[in-house]
């Protein structure tokens, strides 16, 4: 057994590295402030607005955009779409990093982060949807970690351990889809308890379904976006099979995303009908709702379909980024913008720059970790010594 030698080159001062370094340094500074002066010194949270962007972005958006892992592994291993095989490892990696960062972000947001295991080891609040979210996120992070380990174990040359983990692929995939279904939907269901605070155009008994279905869109779109970025910056790391399959993955996922978005659009309309909230469409919130549902659901659905039919990768990639933005907008709407809609503007929330700083810090850590792992481990190529799984 021989461990690989990690040669850390001297950092070159590329624009990316400079920006990343600044974000990390500032982030560390805010971290010190957060844990010495408290949330009041670093956030604009208030008694009316207990959740800010550390929940609205880091948790709600973070979990949705990390859905690529379960979507891709399910497509490949369960639905038998073997041509997507090379997309599985990158998707699992970004999923794993995404969830790890969500959990990291929660340490900033909750008042006493060292108590995060309390719901499991001290008292179980099983009537809470947050309990379900916490349990599933904790379990799924573990699943993603195990699903990711073959890459690390191949890198480390631990053949037997790697082969053992690979044998668990099917079980882990199924477990991952179950857990993802549960917590993706529960993130939406968190808001079911507050019908008086969430605008009727967004509040719906279907919130859980909305969040689950749109997480599939988020997962598919993120795989396309990440694939495009990986091709741009890590082309040299990709093997022949990866390059050959990449276009097929993007086109196939675009087609799937178009269908799922179509279903999601219908669901959103059903939501408005069920709440009989049509008259709200004629208000300012109504206009914003239409921007979300037409501009970021219906149109991406349409353009995904065109891109897939014309086999036009540019349209597909552009639309994927568009759909991702749509998911961000949706989570912001539910968590922040349409939430507390009844309060006067003086009581509404806008993030403190330090909150944005921490969110950027966490995203940057994710990008750096991705860079390191992709540069050293067999993510974008198959390790020559191992059978693919």
């Amino acid at each position: 057994m021989q461990f690989p030698k990690v040669t850390l080159e001297r950092p070159r001062w590329t624009p990316f590295n400079i920006v990343a370094a600044i974000v990390v340094v500032v982030g560390l500074g805010i971290t010190v402030l957060r844990f010495t002066k408290g949330l009041a010194a670093t956030t604009n949270l208030s008694d009316y607005n207990p959740w800010g962007i550390w929940i609205g972005f880091d948790l709600l958006v973070g979990v949705a955009l990390a859905a690529g892992g379960y979507v891709t592994s399910a497509a490949c291993y369960l639905f038998g779409l073997k041509r997507f095989h090379t997309a599985v490892r990158p998707a699992i990696l970004t999923g794993f990093l995404g969830y790890a960062l969500v959990v990291l972000a929660l340490h900033y947001d909750v008042g006493r982060p060292w108590r995060l295991p309390y719901p499991f080891i001290v008292q179980q609040g099983t009537t809470s949807l947050l309990f379900e979210v916490a349990a599933c996120v904790a379990l799924y992070l573990t699943v993603l970690f195990i699903e990711w380990t073959p890459a690390a174990l191949e890198w480390l040359g631990l053949k037997r351990a790697r082969n053992l983990v690979v044998r668990l692929t099917l079980v882990l995939t199924i477990f991952g889809v179950v857990l993802s279904t549960l917590h993706q939907s529960s993130l939406g269901a968190l808001f079911l308890i507050a019908p008086s605070k969430l605008h009727p155009l967004w509040y719906s008994p279907y919130l859980a379904l909305f969040f689950f279905v749109s997480s599939i869109v988020a997962g598919l779109s993120m795989v396309i976006v990440e694939g495009a970025l990986a091709h741009r910056y890590f082309h040299h790391k990709m093997d022949e099979a990866h390059r050959r399959e990449a276009d097929g993955v993007a086109l196939g996922f675009a087609k799937a995303a178009s269908w799922v978005l179509a279903g999601y659009f219908v669901l959103k309309v059903v939501g408005v009908a069920q709440a009989d909230a049509w008259h709200h469409l004629a208000s300012g919130y109504g206009a914003w709702f239409l921007v979300e549902v037409i501009g970021f659901v219906m149109l991406p659905c349409f353009f995904f379909a065109i891109g897939a039919r014309e086999k036009n990768l540019r349209i597909v990639r552009f639309t994927a980024a568009w759909a991702v933005l749509g998911i961000v907008i949706n989570r912001f709407n539910v968590g922040l913008i349409a939430f507390n809609y009844h309060l006067p503007s003086s009581e509404r929330y806008f993030p403190h720059w330090m909150e944005i700083g921490i969110s950027l810090f966490i995203v940057t850590i994710g990008v750096l970790a991705y860079k390191f792992i992709v540069s050293h481990m067999p993510i974008l190529y198959a390790h020559p010594d191992y059978e693919p799984h």
Binding site: L45, L78, G111, R112, R115, L130, V177, A189, L192, I193
Partner: protein, 364 residues
């Protein structure tokens, strides 16, 4: 805790109200007080409140909260609408210019101690407890600080100590639970000089509210706020003006908070049970389809090979047969030719044997 008759009479004496009637006749009446028929409550009468802030002062004192920025005697504070915060469990707000009201009206805010509290239902460490005496209390020793209780509360009551770095707590009215245990009245009730706050068993309070409405026709709206709101609350309000005019939401509905999430929670075991079956099924179907496709492919190849072989055999046989025939024909042709030649030779010597007769031999 159970409420002894003696302690109850003590409260009633302190509250100055002759509520000792009732006894156990209604003990089985579940809905008016949730699962605790003897649960206590407070009735706030907007028409009686004079906005003196004595309740705020008492609350601050008995709960040992930090001193206020401006003294409780300073009524100028009322110019701004306030809410509960981490240093204040209860506040009184002033509402002016309300149609139908002669002067300004005042409303006291504090935890309403829901019969089925949203905060308790939302808490993922069960930090909140609905006590049998009606109080909803909070246990800071388990609180993680996720603040989902604050999201969940329809009355926007729980607050958070955002300025504490390491030991922030959720802060909210406790119904003076520690005092109730000792047989004392809640601080605010005790301090109220105008009897705007009536303390008693919740089911008695509902009756008292109705009696006041009957006694003073036209003084109250026919609505006890909190009787049904969000499934009912221990603290209730009666008023002569619409509740919305004094900052109370009238659109909360009557569904208790736990009902709102019941459906979503009910789906969890279904997904946990059925998804593995469904997904394994999909996997198995795809594997089977792959296997059958492979078998069919193999069978097709085998059939094609067999067909090709048979064809080849047939062709070979035909070719052989043809070759045989050709050979025969060639022999016959040769024989014929030989005979003709022999006949021609016999023509030159006519006494020769007829063609085809045995004995005729091919000339050498």
């Amino acid at each position: 805790m159970s409420i002894s008759r003696r302690r109850f009479l003590g409260w009633m004496g302190a509250a100055g109200a002759g509520l000792a009637a009732g006894g156990r006749a209604h003990a089985a009446a579940l809905p008016p007080s949730g699962g605790h028929p003897d649960a206590l409550g407070v009735l706030f009468d907007v028409t009686r409140c004079i906005g003196c802030r004595k309740c705020e002062e008492a609350c601050n004192r008995v709960n040992e909260l930090p001193p206020p920025e401006r003294p409780f005697q300073d009524l100028g504070v009322l110019q701004k609408t306030r809410r509960t915060d981490a240093r204040t469990y209860t506040v009184v707000n002033r509402y002016e210019g309300i149609p139908g009201a002669k002067g300004p009206l005042y409303r006291k805010i504090q935890c309403n101690h829901c019969l089925e509290p949203a905060c308790a239902s939302a808490c993922f460490v069960r930090a909140f407890t609905k006590n049998p005496d009606g109080a909803v209390t909070y246990d800071e020793s388990v609180c993680v600080g996720c603040r989902y209780c604050m999201i969940a509360c329809p009355f926007e009551i729980p607050t958070y100590e955002y300025d504490k770095a390491l030991t922030p707590r959720v802060m909210k009215c406790t119904f003076c639970h520690p005092r109730l245990v000792q047989g004392l009245l809640p601080g605010c009730v005790e301090a109220c000089p105008s009897e705007a706050l009536t303390f008693g068993r919740r089911r008695d309070l509902l009756r008292i509210a109705r009696e006041r409405m009957a006694q003073f026709p036209g003084r109250y709206l026919d609505h006890i706020y909190g009787e049904f709101e969000m499934g009912g609350t221990a603290w209730m309000t009666i008023s002569g003006v619409p509740f919305a005019a004094i900052g109370m939401r009238e659109d909360l509905g009557t569904t208790p908070a736990p009902e709102l999430t019941k459906g979503a929670l009910g789906v969890v075991p279904v997904v946990a049970a059925m998804w593995p079956v469904l997904l394994t099924g999909i996997y198995a179907i795809n594997r089977r389809r792959d296997r059958i496709a492979r078998e069919e492919r193999e069978a097709a190849v085998a059939a094609a090979v067999a067909r090709a072989e048979a064809e080849a055999k047939k062709k070979l046989a035909e070719a052989l047969a043809k070759a045989e025939k050709d050979k025969k024909a060639a022999i016959e042709r040769e024989v014929k030719k030989a005979l003709e030649e022999a006949a021609r030779a016999r023509g030159e010597a006519p006494a020769g044997p007829a063609p085809g007769t045995p004995g005729a031999t091919k000339p050498a």
